[in-house]
Symmetry: C2
Subunit: 323 residues, 2 copies
């Protein structure tokens, strides 16, 4: 939620001259997004988002992210389309950082999603999974099962600063996940970070998906598990079954889950809660209190994890559906 990289008049003029965009009409920093710097750019050719990649993004991954957005756009998914410059490149340089220009996507993200939003999300997620099937690049999930224990070890000795029982909770849960994690589920390209602020709506209809900077190859059902965590709990971290049911119904209206995927849902949801518990805990302990970025409380994910631990089957996420 901050503009990190300032751009001089000359650098901006030079950057824009590299594209076929006409005249610059407006350029404003956007107070959203914590990983990169985003500017909203108006020119006589239209409205665009200019993203300047900050140090948390690995430059080697950018062709995957930008290529994926092009691929999904070409396959009917509404997402930002990278704009090619006069030489045909999508990746450029600005203010000594890597930068890209993408089309502006209309819509507003829901601060407090309702079940109808979750149904729309479910079907869009399934369509995205189908559209990604023949994307040729591959990127492992750095924040998947094999990444969790190394991340925990970076802050294990300080976990007690967050919550006295947190260290042993994570330790035990990692043991369970490493033992019980499902293999041989259908895999493909997943978004992996599909929180409400990455999904736009106009009039309750989903208008597009943004921010593919955690996208990777992993189990498709794990992406659903991320959404169950991100969309289907109330502000007190109580699970809301009507939203879980809507999400799963929406998804299955496009791509029905296999028996194995359905069986695995509680475990996948525990894994997704662990992934965000770990990154939030790490950031909590390592973000200076005077940083421009608001720290997110890890405790939300301790409560989500407890719910998933108590879930016996996918029916606990959608009680009104016959499972």
């Amino acid at each position: 939620m901050a503009v990190y990289t300032e751009v001089s008049d000359e650098e901006l003029a030079r950057f824009i001259a590299g594209y076929d965009l006409g005249k610059l009409l407006s350029f404003k920093g956007i107070a959203e997004g914590v990983e990169n710097t985003n500017y909203l750019l108006h020119t006589t050719a239209g409205t665009f988002i200019l993203t300047i990649y900050e140090k948390r993004v690995d430059v080697a991954d950018l062709p995957f992210f930008l290529g994926l957005m092009e691929h999904l756009s070409a396959h009917g998914v509404s997402c930002p389309l990278p704009v090619r410059d006069r030489r045909g490149n999508v990746l450029n340089e600005l203010s000594k950082r890597h930068a890209a220009l993408v089309t502006f996507l209309k819509g507003v993200w829901p601060k407090r999603p309702k079940a109808d939003h979750c149904r729309e999300l479910g079907s869009a997620l399934a369509r995205m999974h189908m559209a990604g099937r023949d994307f040729p690049l591959y990127r492992p999930n750095a924040l998947g099962l094999s990444g969790w224990r190394p991340l925990f070890e970076k802050f294990a000795s300080r976990a007690g600063e967050i919550d006295s029982g947190l260290g042993s909770l994570i330790q035990q849960e990692l043991g369970f996940l490493e033992h019980a994690w499902p293999t041989d589920l259908p895999e493909g390209v997943i978004h992996a970070d599909l929180f409400p602020d990455n999904v736009f709506f106009i009039d309750e209809k989903l208008s597009g998906i943004i921010d593919f900077y955690f996208a990777c190859n992993d189990s498709l059902a794990y992406d659903i598990a991320v959404c169950l965590n991100a969309w289907c709990f109330d502000p007190d971290s109580e699970f809301e079954p009507s939203k879980g049911a809507a999400l799963l119904q929406g998804y299955e209206s496009v791509r029905p889950l296999s028996a194995k995927e359905r069986q695995s849902m509680p475990t996948l949801a525990r894994g997704a809660a662990m992934r965000f518990l770990l990154t939030r805990s790490y950031d909590w302990l390592n973000t200076p209190k005077d940083a421009l970025v608001a720290r997110k409380d890890p405790a939300d994910y301790i409560r989500r994890l407890a719910f998933h631990q108590s879930a016996a089957s996918i029916a606990d996420y959608a009680p009104q559906l016959i499972s």
Copy 2:
């Protein structure tokens, strides 16, 4: 440089329904402006800025600010035009704060203004002064001469934390200003905060002026003195005569200065430097280090003040002009 007030989906929908704006298409927080929260809003009716007034703005002043923007717009000045809701009001409520919607103004502010920008600025400032002549409301300058000593007294005991000589420098300078401050100069509505980030350009042509939240009645020439401080020094706080000359030339091409105004320019410039030295010093000492707002270094204005103290006449601001 931050979004302070978050707006819920329901509050935003209710607010927008009060206007004849069509369908909401996009709503993004802008990472600019330190006094208020600003959102960029797209609807099927156009593009707008939604401002939510934070506690530093006195609600009683809002009719002056909003009325002035309407008045200036109606008199040919390019500035944001407040939008009336279905009941004819420009001032509204949102998220328990006062809020207003204004038209979006195209253009980009110059990070590093050149002399040509200063010439454009000068003539636009003079046109704004002319257009404001028959504006019927009155607002004294709270940060004018009579406000400086009370503001200094709020932090005088801590001035040494910024610079060991700062307390006595301000003390002496206030004595001079209270003695030498010019009276009976032409008065009218002034912007009083016309820094580069409040002035937009397209292709080196001035496209509009924004942020009237310090506007008030005071000597017109004092507004020029603010601009000399804000536009005509390089990043090391060295005065740049080519910019000063361009600013004054541009201004006088529309409204020639009186002999008294020209004589008073060094004193007015000292006063303007004092005004920003005082507010920056106060903010420096009173802004928590972990605040979302970047603190601005008061030292820039110690150096500017020293230049103005050395200036013998308006010729020191525009040596190539015959004064």
